[in-house]
Structure formats: C-alpha cells, structure tokens
C-alpha cells in the first residue's frame, strides 16, 4: 500500500549489483577495467566499459574454458547440472530469485506481480526432465552430441556445437537469456552474451546460478553489456565465435546480420506477430468467461511486448455468445488484470499511438455502431479492446495492451488476411474442440505460423519448442557424417588383413 512505499523509499539504500558476469577474469584484471553504472529506481548495476581488447581476451578464455570443461562433458551430465542449477530457482527464498523479483519490475517497469507470476512457470521450462525434451525435440538420439552414432543412411553422425556462440540477448521480456544460454550449453557451446540495456540483469543471475552449481560450466559463460551496434566491439565479439544468435527487433537483427562474418552461422529471432483464434466451443455459456480471462492474460502478460503476445483475436460467430459479447467479456477481464498487474508507464509516443488507434475506431463506431466498438480503460491508455467486424487488413497492434477482436464465420477466412504477414507470423493461441485442432493447425501452419498453443498459454512456450520454426539446438550444430560405404571400405584395412603376421 502507498503508505508503506512512502515510508520505506527514502530510507532504502541504493544497492550496487554486478550487471556483468565474467568469471574468466581475476580480481586484479577486473580492477584494471574502466567501470560504469546504470541506475534504476532501486539499484545500481555496475558494469565494465566494454572495449574490443576486453572482448578479445574474454572470447579467448571462453574458447579455452569450452575445451577444458564442456567439449568432452557428456550431454546428460550437462543437463543434470543445468537442471540442478535451475531447480534452485523453484525456491521462493533463493536469493537470486528474490533479487530478480525485486529488481526486474524496477528495471523494466513491469508490475511486480506480473514479473513474479511470469518468472516462476518460465524457470520450470528448464527443469531437468524438460531439458531432455529440448534434446529429444532436436535429436533422435541426443548422444550424437557426445560421439558418432548410427544414422539412418547407414553411416554414423556426430553433432558438434559451436565452441563459442556470441549471443545478443533481448530485453523486452524478462527471462529470455536463460533460454539462449541453456540451449548453447546443451550443445556444448560457450556463450559470450551481450545483455540488453533495457534489461541487463537476468542473464547475469542465471549464469551465476549455473556457476554456483558447477564453476567449470560457469567459466563457459560471460555476460557483458555494450551499446548495440558498436562496430569494433561487435567485430571482436563475432571474430572468435563459431555461431551468432540475436533476439530483437527488425532493425537490430538486420544490423547484426550485416556484421556477422561470412561463413559464421547466424540464428536470428526477429520481429514476430502472434494472434488468437476462438472456436464456438470455447464460447459455450459455461466456457466463454474463462476463455476471455485466458485471452486477457495472453494479451496483458509483459504488456504485449513479447513476440508471443497476440495482436488480434479472431472469434467464430456461431457460438453461444456472439463475438461482440465476447469482446465485452474480454474487456472486463483486461480491466481486472490491470487492477492486479498494472501496465508499465509508457512513453508519450506510445500513448499517442494508442490514442490514435482509439480515436480512429471511435470515429468509425460513430458512423457504424454495429460494426465497430471500442472498449477502453477509463483513465489513460491502460488497455483497449477494439471490436471490428470487417477489418480491411490485419493491423498490427501498437502494443501495451491493445487488442482487436474480429468475428469470423470460418477459420479459412483468416488465411487471406494474414497473407501479407506470412514471414512474420509466430504463435497462434487457439481454443476449439479436439477434433478440429488438427485441421486448424494445418491451416495455421500453411499461413506461416510456427507454434500452435492453447489460449492462456501463449506467453509460455513449452520446453523444446522449435523457436521461430527452427530447432533451438539443431540450428546451432554442425553435423559430421561418416559415410556408411566408407565404414565398409575401412574393413579392407583391418589389421587382420593388412598387418604382417608375426
């Protein structure tokens, strides 16, 4: 309550916390670096000033650490260690979790309750048994990461991960760097991570808890922060890497793509668009309110900033409640989510974008009140639900909890509307009877979607998801095949036939 906040704020000390993870450097070496701080409401993050020379040294040592601690480590042992490290996070009293729950809201502006309730299920994605799903999803036999295993073509294959992957982390949604780092570890790659200035803390905390569990593995991780696009620093960061990954907006990803050296695999997780489709079954009188609640969660979680957040929801017409009534129920649930987990304070430009959308539709609602209706938070721009009967095209949301509801007679209608966005589509959250889910998924997959999930689960992809349509692990590895015919030929050189008898 406000009284508490008023009383505690002036007395609270500004904590200084490490906003970097560099176990490869000694205390003396760290002391010689130049330092800077990034201040947030409750804390100050201390970070080294990153130079090309620093990146070079760190990259060299990461490569050395990979050879020493990771290259020959059995993959199941790595999964054990990471699983154990992540299981520490399931304890509400674990210090890094408490730190994350306290500071991430201040760093990102997201509501504390939203961060708290978002992080917990997310960290369970990395439970040991779920790490096995990551492996199983991408490798028929995960032991290919440890040695040559029989392949379908009659020979044997082994998958080599990069020695070092340079990873540009995203900052829009707390937690994402854990996915990147853990996937790299599972294919035995060290990570040189560049944290996002929007959210530089989480990657550091995850790396530190892995190091706590296994210092050797910890030395295969480094997290630094530099300004995106710093040419000489990034050149150095890409130089020693066997692969580069980047998660971010269109411009950031394109700019990195230009600087990754030719021949170095580049895995880009760029701008993506998600949406929901609600079947008439989910509009039954005993289901519609719950469906609305789930959609509201999908839209509101992390203020719609994630690529997994829906921009629009298509609602079938022939349900027990009509799409317009559903839009009203959705609006009521958006208002309730806002009570508990209010949206972050947004910039003037962002507010103006929302006001523009609202006023455009309000004007149309005035002209044709049956076809358009705007439900909006009473004060400010906290949330907006636009009911729009006949959209001209699929419009992107300005985000920050703005969602459009479009009625449809049949899911086939959305194929044409989504066509212009084909290359950018990602998650479709659906709610329909089980016997329709398969054909819906066929159609959605044809449209360009790479993830079909239930409404209410859009912000939490399952362990092992083919992120943006690719295997999170498979996209990092390089295959080496020993041809079947060669193995037969090798028989010819068996010492039994070739060595002189004593």
């Amino acid at each position: 309550m406000s009284s508490v906040v008023v009383a505690t704020e002036p007395t609270r000390d500004l904590q200084t916390i490490d906003g970097f993870f560099l176990p490869q450097l000694s205390e003396e070496e760290l002391a010689e670096l130049d330092w800077t701080t990034q201040s947030f409401a409750g804390a100050e993050l201390r970070m080294p000033v990153v130079t090309p020379a620093l990146v070079q040294v760190v990259a060299e040592r990461l490569v050395a650490a990979q050879a020493e601690f990771l290259a020959d480590r059995p993959v199941m042992e790595i999964a054990d260690v990471v699983g154990r490290a992540m299981s520490r996070w399931y304890d509400a009293e674990y210090a890094p979790r408490r730190l994350a729950e306290a500071l991430l809201p201040e760093i990102t502006g997201y509501a504390p309750e939203m961060v708290r309730r978002g992080l917990r299920p997310y960290m369970k994605t990395f439970r040991r048994d779920r790490l096995l799903r990551f492996l199983a999803q991408d490798f028929e036999n995960p032991l290919v990461l440890d040695g040559f295993q029989p392949n379908r073509a009659g020979g044997r294959s082994r998958a080599f991960g990069p020695r070092l992957t340079t990873q540009i982390f995203a900052g829009n949604v707390p937690g994402l760097p854990a996915w990147n780092m853990i996937c790299a570890l599972l294919v035995k790659s060290a990570t040189l991570g560049k944290s996002s200035s929007q959210e530089p803390l989480f990657g550091v905390l995850v790396a530190a808890s892995i190091a706590e569990e296994d210092p050797g593995l910890g030395r295969c991780l480094a997290v630094l922060n530099w300004r995106g696009g710093e040419d000489d620093v990034e050149r150095a960061a890409f130089e020693r890497a066997d692969a580069v990954t980047a998660t971010g907006g269109v411009r950031a990803v394109e700019s990195i793509a230009r600087r990754v050296p030719v021949g170095v695999p580049f895995v880009a997780y760029g701008h993506k668009v998600s949406f929901g489709v609600i079947g008439h079954e989910a509009l039954a009188l005993n289901r519609y309110a719950d469906t609305a609640r789930r959609v509201a969660q999908d839209v509101s979680q992390y203020d719609q900033q994630g690529c997994l957040s829906p921009h629009a929801v298509f609602v079938e017409r022939n349900g027990a409640v009509d799409p317009r009534t559903f839009a009203a129920a959705l609006a009521a649930e958006m208002a309730r989510f806002e009570r508990d987990r209010p949206r972050a304070v947004i910039s003037l430009e962002e507010s103006v974008a929302i006001e523009d959308v609202r006023s455009g539709y309000e004007f149309r609602a005035y002209e044709d009140p049956d076809a358009t209706h705007v439900h909006a938070s009473a004060d400010g721009t906290a949330w907006t639900v636009v009911y729009e009967e006949r959209p001209e095209r699929f419009e992107l949301s300005p985000l920050n909890r703005v969602v459009r509801v479009h009625p449809i007679d049949d899911i086939a209608e959305i194929e044409r509307r989504l066509a212009p966005l084909r290359r950018h589509l990602q998650t479709a959250g659906i709610a329909c009877a089980p016997d329709r889910a398969g054909s819906w998924a066929d159609l959605l997959g044809r449209c360009g979607v790479d993830r079909v999930c239930a409404v209410g689960q859009m912000p939490q992809p399952a362990a092992g998801w083919h992120h943006d349509g690719r295997g999170s692990l498979a996209s990092l590895v390089r295959w080496v095949d020993i041809e079947g015919a060669a193995e037969t030929e090798f028989e010819r050189y068996d010492p039994e036939w070739t060595a002189p008898r004593p």
């Binding site: 309550m1 406000s2 009284s3 508490v4 906040v5 008023v6 009383a7 704020e9 990034q38 201040s39 947030f40 409401a41 809201p105 201040e106 760093i107 990102t108 502006g109 509501a111 504390p112 309750e113 309730r117 929007q198 309110a289 719950d290 609640r293 009521a332 649930e333 309730r336 009570r339 508990d340 987990r341 209010p342 972050a344 304070v345």
Partner: protein, 277 residues
C-alpha cells in the same frame, strides 16, 4: 523504460483513492480498531477522506499507525493514533476516554481488530485436531474485542441519541471455502452479537451492522494463500476477482453515511457475489 524513469512502485500504490472524498462524515468521530495496517488502515483513510475525525487504534505497530495518521493529516484530515489491546476492557475504556477528551465522544465505531491469526490454507488446523483453546482465543479477540469497544462507546452514543457501529465479519460464515474453524466460528458469533445489539440499541438511534468480506488481497493476512488458490477463487466469483481493502472500506462508508440511516442488523457481503444473501 530507460534507467531514468521511475516506474510505479506497486499495484496499489500511487493511485488515487478510488472511494473519492467529501465532507459527508464531518460530524463523525470514528474509532477504527486494528487500523495500523491492511483493511483497517484503508478504512481509516477512507473515513478521513470523507470528513470523519479518525482515532487509529493499534496494538503494537506504533510506526505503522503513525504512518496512517501522517497520511491522513497530509491529506488535510484529522487523525491520531491510540494504542490499546481491544481484549483488555480497561485499556479500551481508557482509550475511549482519551479519544473523547481529544475529539469528542466516539459516534462511529468500526470493530476491525482480531487476534493474530495465521491464514494458511495448507497448514491450518483441521476439525479433528483443533483444540478448544484456539476457539477461545478467537472468541476473545473477535467477539471480546468488539464487546469491549461497544461497551466503551455505548453510553456516549446513547446520550447523543445517535451512533454507528460496524463490525467486520467474513463471508466464510456462509461459505467456508477453507475451514478456519476458530476464526470463522468467532466471526459468526460476532454476527449474532451484532444483531442482538441492533435490536437493543435501535430505540436510541444507534445502528449496528456487519460487513462480510471475501478473501481480501493484498493484505498481510492473505499473503500465505497460493496464487493457484486465489486464481481458483476468482474463477468461481461472479465478479471474478478478489476483494481489495478499498472494496471493504466502500461498504463501511455506506454504513457510516446517512444513506444507511434506516438499515440496522444487516450483514453486507463484499465478496464479488460468491455469497448471495
């Protein structure tokens, strides 16, 4: 969302009091028991925002009570903190005298205090192992505390021919979603006590009513319920959320205001429609 922006400190902070302000209760001297934190603190602030002079009673948290007082004063209201254990009749009577001396006789009493109770749905005592002493402690706190406070203010109210008493109970008395046996039984007794009081005090122009909240969140008392339990409760509640301290204060304002002049012996459920009666 850069480092220079100061984000909002919390879900309920920095938001205008949704209950508004007025001078409707300007002639009320209110005593709110257990008002240093949680629901009681919100009730104290809401009454003050509508013009009442508020005696903020507390047991031990002088600092928190003082915060409530300071906040009320900062908003232009009148308030002061008064320590007293409501289960101690002499202490309550002395407190009522001090309030009367400072502000005039109490003509609005809100019995909100209760015995320290651990609302832990996973570690509660079951029907087959709860000892009688636990019931006694809750009777002493909820019922005994209200009894002492009512006795202390009754003569003044009777002399004035006017008074409002509002007692906090719980919707668990109608729908024991979770078996907090001792707590709920004592609250049910408080409802019976209130109705009897209403019958006896009506002739003197004193109304006695109850407010029965559902699970209120966030408060110190509810923070042991799990996210999942709160979600499940929300889904079966027609208004599909939990009560906030402000929701409870809204019902208190109604019973404190002239709009409820002809209502006594009532129990108003503030639980989003979970209990309908």
């Amino acid at each position: 969302m850069s480092g220079t922006q100061v984000p909002p400190p919390g879900p309920t902070a920095a938001r205008p009091l949704p209950l508004g302000s007025s001078d409707m209760l300007a002639d009320r001297v209110a005593l709110v028991t257990g008002a240093s934190r949680g629901i009681g603190a919100t009730i104290a602030r809401a009454l003050a925002a509508h013009g009442a002079t508020v005696a903020v009673n507390y047991l031990s948290r002088h600092d928190r009570a003082q915060e409530v007082v300071s906040e009320i004063r900062a908003g232009g209201g009148r308030a002061e903190a008064f320590a007293a254990d409501v289960t101690d009749a002499a202490a309550v009577s002395a407190m009522a005298a001090r309030v009367s001396e400072r502000f005039g006789p109490v003509n609005l009493l809100v019995n909100n205090a209760l015995r320290e109770y651990r609302f832990d749905p996973l570690a509660r005592r079951t029907a087959w192992d709860i000892p009688w002493e636990h019931y006694e402690r809750q009777f002493e706190g909820s019922l005994g505390g209200a009894f002492n406070a009512c006795r202390a203010v009754m003569p003044g109210m009777r002399d004035a021919g006017d008074g409002r008493i509002v007692n906090l109970v719980t919707d668990l008395i109608e729908r024991p979603s979770i078996g907090y046996h001792d707590y709920t039984t004592a609250k049910a007794a408080l409802l019976g006590f209130s109705r009897n009081l209403a019958a006896d005090l009506g002739p003197f122009g004193i109304t006695v009513n109850c407010v029965a909240p559902g699970l209120v969140h966030p408060t110190d008392a509810s923070n042991r319920t799990t996210d999942q339990q709160r979600d499940e409760l929300e889904v079966v509640t027609p208004l599909r959320r939990l009560a906030s301290p402000e929701d409870v204060a809204g019902a208190i304002l109604y019973f404190a205001s002239p709009w409820s002049s002809f209502v006594t012996g009532a129990c108003l459920f503030v639980d989003g429609g979970l209990v309908m009666r």
